[in-house]
Amino acid sequence: MKELIKALVETCGPSGSEEKVRELIAAEVRGLATSLEVDALGNLIAMVRGKGGGRRIMLAAHMDEIGLVVSHVDERGFLRFQPLGGVPTRTLVGGRVRFANGLRGAIGAEEKGLGQNDLPRFDQLFIDVGARSKEACPVRVGDVACFDRDFVDLGDRLIAKAFDDRIGCAILIQTLKELGETPNDVYMVFTVQEELGLRGAQTAAFGVEADLGIAVDVTRTGDTPEARTMAVGLGGGPAIKVKDRGMLTHRGVRQWMIDTAQVAGVPYQLEVLEAGTTDGMAMQTTKAGLPVGVLSVATRYVHTPSEMVDYQDVTNSVRLLVELLRRPPRL
């Protein structure tokens, strides 16, 4: 599964420009799904028809990652930019970016008005692609870039950009590969624009009309030096969400996930996240509402170019999802 993960995280797909990620996922799931479609906003919906007796279940993982959008090209060829999603500026200076066409650049900061220890604002930063003038600059206003970092395999632990939420995409793909027969109609939805406000999940959930939903996304951890308190850590197993800032998960779905993990002997941890939310929030409040749970992957350094996950957590997440989907849900 590491090859799949590497391919996913090294693909560039900032919010609103997910097409390369979508192509990669479509190629992976094409032979496994009963139907495969792309909706009006660009969500990829892979449906597996169940053999009957089950429910209509929507699973969501988002294809997009945080990134940058060029807002101005100055006379000397430097690029001003704005964030796509929640980008912390402290990780940017000295970092590198990659544009959709493969062009790379470095991020610099203004010197006047910025002390050694000051956090820069976005309007004090710029991208340098080595152009000598506006005319010679190959980048245009509106072009988007992602962070330029390689996938690193440390054995048990993995480092990459965009585990948020390519690791969720990888888990859904692998679940589809291992699922086999199911009584449920399973809709694997790879969503767009989550980082901009759960936009893809909102429209996909409206169209799918599921009986039940599970979002698969990352969550932060409390297991690093002087971290804010949080009872989630790397290697503790898939995290079953209780709440975050955007939603309270459905008690029945949550208990079903816990019971299933216990019966199958899959380690798990319970997650209470004080900030952030996931596609689960948009799914829960669509139309007349539906019961939604969230499976989170513990991830250190979320929204930096070097996010870290535990490989066992990833494979255990797949095991749990396969167990959940093989039988009709019992709430």
Binding site: A40, V70, Q202
Partner: protein, 345 residues
């Protein structure tokens, strides 16, 4: 000129009736039907001629409402307290003329003379709740005619600033009466598909009208017409002006509320290039429009935004170029005809 009638009507968010009346008068002759929905959106239908390839219905929207003020309290001496409706910088309202309620009672927002200002006061920005409207009327008269909840609009006359060159005009509420006026022009033409013109309410307080209009119309694609930020005065740093006056209609790649459908943006660019219409790309990630509510409606509606650059928006006065306006009308009409052949997969 329709734009003059539109900006001299008052339509602070939630109270768009006067603007809607002007628009009904303007579109009645060319509409197949029109209706006013529960929130006050004016939805005009122009039936298609037929023969459209793939796209059956298109919604084009512009919002009728403008930012303004609302009376919160009338003091015993007749001074009127107010709060803003929509996003207004408190620095732009001091010493401005306003008109209150449907009777358009004239008033001014009072300001302390510089003679009496302490140094510290000069550097501080007054909060809205520290300001008052002075009608010059007796306290009894004010109490009789003005109640909490009464709307207050800026009192700004439309004026042509330059007949040649950029053909600049000044007035209030070009955001988004410019869009309304463009949409009224677009309706004069006919198209292969059904065209729904949605003149929406309450954009400035959260895209509320557009949300329900898009649900009801459920179009295949949508365009939003706007008057947008233009910050093209000289600056120390080489940074984006957001848009430039006189450089043509501005196309949005993305803003805070929407990533525009790339096919529709390409369609607009192709039409502009084919017809020699100047256009510009608006600084991304700034501002938001009704497209934010429209594109996430139902199963998703591909949307794009075209705007006329307007200096000083969300203040009592704004400036725009009628050249940009005329180009915007041409570009929107042309892009709609180009869409009759369908949208690429």
């Amino acid at each position: 000129m329709l734009i003059q009638q539109l900006v001299e009507a008052d339509g602070v968010s939630g109270h768009e009736g006067a603007v809607r009346q002007v628009l009904i008068g303007a579109i009645e002759a060319c509409a197949d039907e029109y209706r006013v929905d529960a929130l006050g959106n004016l939805i005009v239908v122009k039936r298609g001629r037929g023969g459209a390839g793939g796209v059956r219905s298109v919604m084009v929207s512009a919002h009728m409402d403008e930012v303004g003020l609302m009376v919160t309290y009338v003091e015993r001496d007749g001074t009127i307290r107010f709060s803003p409706v929509g996003g207004i910088d408190p620095r732009v309202v001091l010493a401005k003329r306003v008109r209150i309620g449907d009777d358009r009672i004239p008033g001014v927002i009072g300001v302390k003379p510089i003679h009496l200002l302490e140094q510290a006061e000069r550097e501080r920005v007054l909060r809205f709740d520290q300001m008052g409207i002075d009608t010059g009327m007796s306290a009894d008269e004010v109490a009789r005619r003005v109640t909490p909840g009464t709307y207050v609009a800026f009192d700004t006359a439309f004026q042509v600033l330059d007949e040649g060159g950029l053909r600049t005009v000044k007035g209030k509420a070009f955001d988004d009466r410019a869009g309304c006026a463009i949409l009224a022009e677009v309706l004069k033409d006919s198209y292969a598909f059904d065209l729904y013109a949605a003149f929406t309410v309450q954009e400035e307080v959260g895209l509320r009208g557009a949300r329900v209009a898009a649900y009801a119309v459920n179009p295949d694609v949508a365009f939003v017409l706007e008057g947008t930020v233009c910050d093209d005065s000289p600056k120390d740093k080489d940074v984006s002006p957001t848009t430039r006056l006189g450089a043509g209609p501005a196309l949005t790649i993305m803003d805070r509320t929407v990533v525009c459908d790339r096919r529709l943006v390409r369609l607009l660019v192709e039409e502009a290039e084919a017809e020699g219409i100047p256009f510009q790309i608006k600084q991304p990630a700034i501002g938001g429009t009704d497209a934010g509510a429209i594109h996430t409606q139902r199963e998703g509606i591909p949307s794009a935004v075209m705007a006329v650059p307007c200096r000083y928006i969300h203040s009592p006065v704004s400036v725009m170029s009628l050249n940009d306006f005329d180009y915007a009308v041409r570009l929107m009409r042309g892009a709609l005809h180009r869409l009759e052949g369908g949208l690429e997969a």
